[in-house]
Symmetry: C2
């Protein structure tokens, strides 16, 4: 059975080149990253500005590689493999991307957010509030990625923090 | 443009009655809540058991109410209104549900998890690892819900913790 979804807006980022997306910036300059919701949904943003963080769900629309159940993330040591569902690889059976972003400012149907590693023009599927008690887990870990040698360095890659190699 | 998704598995819970789902249990009894991934995707679960928490994305498939941009959550005081995207209402333009659950145990293509307030038989769309540094936000808040009078009590509802009224 096919489930039908539709774009409800557009994500704007500085990234336009496929396969060559820079790491997420740690700067929070207002304007670099924004979410433009379709105007007919603007009233659905009422009170969203009271949240520190929001979830964005989006359609990963420019992936052409075939889905594989075994993944080696680009930042992991050669030979490292994990199951697709144990990674955040963009090549998935259902191309839904998920990011937690800081909400910086709202202007009508536009939300300005902290950095996002998605391509400019990515179709938006949903916005949900990030609720501290439901979504923030102080005892969360990094799974297999936390067990790799040199994992402090690898975590910079996972988090997208620019650093000298 | 329509985006096509498909079910990749099934979520099993004790909840079969529409509109009358009990609050999430706080018990973590193994077996009450499970995710049955289609067997063809089993290799995609390799190493997922190393994660404390995972995200589940699922198709909210039994909502029949029309989408409204203004929502009054069932636990909020009468007259409280918030925009749809400032709530976790299941009635959304794209019916994608999102939950963070604790991963208790894996048996081949079955994952046993902590409690989930979804109906039995809910179609699974994706499983993603919850990564501490990306997803856990110590400075997250509860937005407008945190500003309501008597919010300690309301947070029990938001979290789904059973309690005496």
């Amino acid at each position: 059975m096919t489930i039908e979804m539709k774009s409800i807006g557009t994500i704007h980022t500085p990234y336009t080149i496929k396969w060559n997306m820079p790491y997420q910036p740690v700067t929070d300059d207002i304007g670099e990253f924004s979410i433009e919701l379709e105007e007919s949904f603007t009233d659905g943003l009422n009170k969203i500005e009271t949240f520190t963080y929001i979830y964005l769900l989006y359609h990963i629309d420019r992936v052409t590689r075939p889905v594989s159940m075994s993944v080696t993330p680009p930042w992991a040591p050669q030979g490292t493999e994990a199951g697709l569902f144990a990674t955040r690889s963009p090549v998935r059976p259902n191309p839904i991307g998920l990011s937690v972003v800081r909400l910086l400012k709202r202007e009508n149907n536009i939300l300005y957010t902290s950095g996002l590693d998605v391509l400019d023009g990515t179709p938006l599927l949903d916005i949900k509030p990030y609720l501290a008690d439901l979504d923030s887990k102080a005892d969360a870990n990094h799974g297999w990625a936390g067990d790799l040698p040199n994992n402090d360095h690898l975590l910079l890659h996972i988090k997208g923090i620019p650093h000298d190699e």
